[in-house]
Amino acid sequence: MKKIRINSFAVLAFVVTFIFTTFNANANQTRENVIKRGSLNCGVSQGVPGFSNADASGKWAGIDVDFCRAIAAAILGDANKVKFTPLSAKDRFEVLKAGDIDVLARNTTWTLSRDGGLALDFIGTNFYDGQGFMVRKAANINSAKKLNNVKVCVETGTTTELNLRDYFKANKLKYEPVAFTKSDEAVAAYDSGRCDVYTTDKSGLAANRTKTKNPADHIILPETISKEPLGPVVRGNDENWANITRWTLNVMIEAEELGITKANVDSLKSTDNPAIKRLLGLEGETGKNLSLNNEWSYNIIKQVGNYGESYEANVGPKTPVGLGRGLNQLWTKGGILYAPPVR
């Protein structure tokens, strides 16, 4: 008898503490949580060169990584106060929903069902992409229309997996999907010969080709079979947080359009141009609208740079990924990057 009572008290005590620790409502206060914590939790990929990839010393780089650093600069004033969490495509949304990360910047395609059905908010597009195919040169194939009876390595839980099926169905071609939970595994399987074709977004193809044993043995087929607007995602229940992240991206794009760079941002502080003054927080109250201080946009540009700088440093023609600007050029230069007015 006595023994039972002690045990049930112990259980009760455990459960009570458990209840109180689980009751930390995380709705509508992501910004406060980040400030309290002193760092931003950012979900990234498990390694896609150019987007989010850790080097040998564990330092993360890529355009998605830059975006997270920009948020940290805007809120905390320090672009280095970011904790990166590598996530598989399969787990990414669940981890975000559970509140373990504040923002998901993991080359994620913006679709209706994800935006509406998953209770998440896509806050913009930081890379316009499209799905393509990579094959071995020895396969002697120069068009995706010629792919038939092939085995295709693909990352599971992605829009890629769905587009793949649509493409082969629409073109009445036969294929077998070989699905992996990590993009690294899919690439390695393709490289070993388990599959004849590897498919993902074209930026990912270019990035992952650098991971094959002999990149020169592989070609990327010309067809683009889908629209893949890749963008950062936040939980759908925090409007202030969605605004902060959305306008962080817009500031980076707008800064490129106005010609503000990491290097000249300090000298431009003395400019007369009202648009630049507003963007740098010298006029107006852009920060107040987001519950931030007015330095936020200056910090982004000073510490991380504008969109173009981030692009050139991570995925541009001079990097191993080697992608031209294409659609990811400013609207004034023939692309489709267009930031709403910062005012």
Partner: protein, 394 residues
């Protein structure tokens, strides 16, 4: 005793009551905890605008699955994707259990062999396979062995029957016409065997005559389907895998294809589990005392009778309960399939379908219930078998 009976009964009642209170409290507490978590989940889901429910099972999945026992493509429903995953899990579990049992018995008996080499080799086998982590063994077979096979155009072809390459193993497919006659034959044979068994028991107990039921059954199970096939006109067509070339890409079409993910899983699960079963078998045989065998000999049993009628029935009583556990372990371990991309219940449904729909709570619930049901069914069958062979005490 000084206590009168009235006092005794009140004391008994009081004791019963005081025993009851913590039980009731515990149940109430349990109900509260379940309610609390269900309620908490509901509130949080509402706060995040997450919808719940099982309607998604009827909508189109939109993704294809590499390996399926039933017709399935992206226009099939999520419910059907679940079925594909379930069947793939059962397939791996079935073959895993089948090979693990055979291997386990062979190795277990070899462990007791008087031949020094066989004895030592099986000891090494057991210690090697049961002491390495299972996931490592799966990776070994998948990444090291199966990934180093030749490419499709340079396939190994063994007796024109088995084709082995990096993309899988291919064997010819036997296509039967009018195949239902074979099933009629088998059904008829089984019914006849039951009748013979009944007759044999009667003859044994009433007239002490032994009828070789097993031998007769073996003959019947072959002859009946064969005769039925002849009557019904059953034809067999062998469909060989054919090498097809599309530009520079080679592919085998037709026949039966076993994908590397499946093979790696069956290899590793059966080798790993067979090491444990071997130990069960060894323990079971050692548990039958030597006197039993000697007694059967002195009663005039020959060595196969002594083994079949005396040793094995007693050994099975020791072997079956722990082996049931191994079957359960194997079935649950098959969920490691997700690590190498085999589309089982965990990989295809709790993995792909979950991330495409975001219905984490519903899908994990379905999958957990499914594994629970499979495990309980296996226990049920083996408990029934165990009861059947258990010592009947009068």
């Amino acid at each position: 005793m000084f206590l009168n009976s009235e006092f005794k009964t009140t004391l008994k009642k009081n004791l019963q009551l005081s025993n009851l209170i913590p039980q009731v409290l515990l149940i109430l507490f349990f109900i509260f905890v379940v309610y609390f978590f269900a309620n908490n989940a509901q509130i949080n889901m509402k706060a995040r605008n997450m919808s719940s429910g099982f309607d998604f099972l009827n909508t189109n999945s939109g993704f294809d699955i590499q390996f399926s026992l039933i017709d399935y493509d992206g226009s099939s429903s999520y419910g059907r994707a679940y079925l594909v995953g379930l069947l793939n899990t059962l397939l791996v579990a079935f073959f895993g259990i089948f090979f693990a049992t055979i291997l386990g018995f062979i190795i277990g008996v070899s462990r007791l062999s008087s031949n020094w080499i066989i004895n030592r080799l099986s000891l090494i086998y057991v210690e090697l396979f049961r002491n390495l982590p299972l996931i490592l063994q799966i990776f070994f077979w998948y990444f090291t062995v199966l990934r180093s096979l030749p490419s499709t155009e340079k396939s190994l072809i063994i007796f024109n029957f088995l084709i082995i390459n990096l993309q899988g193993f291919y064997i010819p497919k036997f296509v039967f016409t009018n195949s239902h006659y074979i099933f009629y034959g088998i059904t008829f044979a089984i019914l006849t065997i039951f009748l013979i068994k009944y007759y044999a028991n009667k003859m044994f107990y009433e007239h002490a005559k032994v009828i070789p039921v097993f031998k007769i059954s073996l003959i019947l199970i072959i002859i009946f389907p064969a005769v039925f096939s002849l009557i019904g006109g059953v034809g067999v067509k062998i469909e060989y895998p054919k090498l097809v070339k599309n530009f520079g890409i080679f592919n085998y079409l037709g026949g039966v294809k076993l994908i590397p993910e499946f093979l790696a899983l069956v290899f590793s699960l059966s080798l790993y589990t067979s090491a444990f079963i071997a130990e069960n078998v060894r323990a079971g045989i050692l548990a039958v005392s030597k006197g039993q065998k000697e007694a059967s000999k002195s009663l005039g049993f020959n060595s196969s009778q002594s083994l079949n009628l005396i040793v094995i029935p007693q050994a099975l009583r020791v072997i079956i309960p722990p082996t049931t556990n191994q079957y359960l372990n194997l079935t649950k371990n098959s969920s490691l399939a997700a690590a190498i991309g085999y589309p089982d219940l965990t990989g295809a449904f709790a993995g792909t379908a979950l991330s495409q729909t975001g219905k984490a709570i519903e899908i994990i619930f379905i999958v957990m219930m499914t594994y629970l049901t499979i495990s309980l069914l296996i226990s049920l069958i083996l408990n029934w078998y165990n009861k059947k062979i258990a010592l009947v005490e009068r």
